[in-house]
Amino acid sequence: MKILVPVKQVSILDDEFEMRDDGHGVDEDFFEKDLNEFDHFAVEEALLIKEAAGEGAEVIVVTVGDGETDDALRTALAKGAERGIRVWDDSLADADSIAIAKVLAKVVEREAPDMVFTGAQSADFGHATTGMALAGLLGWPHAAVVSKLDFMPGAGTATLHRELEGGLEEIMTIQCPAVLSIQLGINQPRYASLRGIRQAKQKPVEELDLDDLGLGGSDVTSASRVRRMYAPEKGQAEIIEGSAAEQAARLAEIIKELRGI
């Protein structure tokens, strides 16, 4: 039994940042990198199923990214995934979610997992695209924003909840293997133990390029192109200056005024 979890290392912008001169991105100096929050839940869901399945079950994490994104894989390996795969090629620098999905589709074909879990979206761009695009390329059953899952390895179908607007959930069954995008709150992601972190350093991470996957550059085209990136106009917010005491005093005035006290 094998579950494949594509993960993303997301970029978190510092409190202050500057755009790149070419107007297509933000200067790399202003980022912190981390494993996408949603992916913690996808990894956890895979680990829970693996642990229940016992011997021989495996969780594989895969990312498409340059050497720096190894950290995201190691974070997932430290939690208990067995091995990692990292795919990179410089031609992927401007790849959008759909191009990434094209790369991941080849990895899925190679690994033939029983299930693929992605995060429902990435915390930085929120495209909510990669997982479901991957399903489309594979022709696999798929469901997005899964908030509860009942999957017995080997079973032909799984039962899941799809979280809809307003807290309503739809219960459905789905044929397996499937690609599911996993929602926040489906489980309580574990923290890696110190032992896990040590072990993660020894776990195999296979490095692949497009060639290894039988892909040429023209196979991994994007569905969109960044024309420009820019800071939005500042909102209308009136910034309340001063010490905490002064700020609170003004805030109290606003509250009292609106409450008619």
């Binding site: 909510a128 219960i171 709150g185 569905a223 909102g235 700020q247 606003i254």
Partner: protein, 318 residues
């Protein structure tokens, strides 16, 4: 002349009004000679024709299916069939959870241009340009779609005013294309009982987000809300962690602050899903240590500072 296609939605037989926002987005780039067709799938699709007879809509494609169930495979087959037959330049749908399940899928499969969570559309030098946010709403990105004949976009909710007015579309009846579906609807699970917590009814909400840091810090904000005469709300991670009941969660998958006039957000970054529940509130006050937090872009008053310090000082005034 270009054809534009909107995929409208129903859920369990009820029309989803976010579809009217997708229509408005389509109208925003619809030229005089363009045609806008809106497709809707359901057991009784004609029931939605009146909902969809709004300004700008030239045709309603009423697609009869065996049930009202949402089946991503079926929607994808419909999109494929209509795209093939009509060669629309643009396809739009609301960026709701249903579209999340089918839009990227069909776009990838058919090689469409694609952008999700789009908040503005326009043509620049004859090229379709879509604007969406990035880096936790801190930047905007303009995307174009070189070489793509068909572009599929999903439209952020609460950005476009729903299309209104009266249209006189022609109605085309169609049977849903035959396709194998891999999902089966079993039932619904309604949100848990709110237990007396009334976010939608409250006119004054004090909301806490992940900035609260730890479960042990939550109690003091419950007490402060009481003292101020506010209802305590929260962002999703606080409810997911079980620190506060789900009934206090404001946002897309929680509550709509429907009657709120004053909303104080402390330690909330302002994700689009949180904004969904509170962006409309007349007076929003944001307290956040990060001056670039996107919550400031929708707030009327901003305090760049530590929520604990502000809270401590605020208590002296009540």
């Amino acid at each position: 002349m270009a054809e534009i296609l909107v995929i409208a939605e129903q859920r369990d037989g009820a029309f989803r009004s976010a579809s009217l926002e997708a229509i408005a987005a389509a109208n925003s780039v619809k030229g005089e000679d363009d045609r806008l067709a809106v497709a809707i799938i359901g057991a009784d699709p004609n029931a939605f024709v009146s909902d969809l007879s709004v300004e700008g809509v030239d045709e309603v494609i009423a697609i009869k299916a065996g049930s009202n169930d949402f089946q991503p495979d079926l929607v994808e087959a419909v999109v494929a069939t209509l795209a093939e037959a009509r060669k629309p330049a643009l396809i739009a749908a609301a960026h709701g959870v249903d579209a999340w399940s089918y839009a990227p899928t069909v776009a990838a499969k058919l090689g469409f241009g694609f952008a999700s969570d789009v908040q503005a559309l326009r043509y620049e030098d004859g090229q379709l340009v879509a604007t969406r946010a990035g880096y936790a709403e801190k930047v905007l990105v303009d995307l174009d779609f070189p070489g793509k004949e068909v572009v599929l976009v999903t439209i952020r909710t609460n950005v476009f005013d729903p299309a209104g007015g009266v249209g006189a579309p022609t109605v085309t009846a169609m049977d849903a294309p035959a396709c194998e579906v891999s999902t089966t609807h079993v039932g619904w699970k309604e949100p848990e009982d709110a237990g007396g917590i009334d976010i939608p009814g409250s006119d004054f909400i004090l909301s806490i987000g992940r900035g609260v840091g730890d479960e042990s810090n939550v109690e003091q904000f419950l007490e402060m809300a009481d003292q101020l005469g506010a209802t305590l709300g929260c962002s999703r991670p606080i409810a997911d962690n079980g620190w506060l009941p789900k009934a206090r969660q404001v946002g897309q998958s929680g509550q709509l602050a429907a009657n709120c006039r004053l909303y104080i957000a402390m330690g909330v970054s302002g994700s689009v899903q949180h904004q969904w529940g509170m962006k409309h509130v007349e007076t929003i006050v944001a307290v956040n240590t990060d001056p670039e937090a996107s919550i400031f872009s929708i707030a009327r008053y901003g305090v760049v500072g530590d929520m604990f310090e502000i809270a401590e000082e605020l208590e002296n005034h009540f």
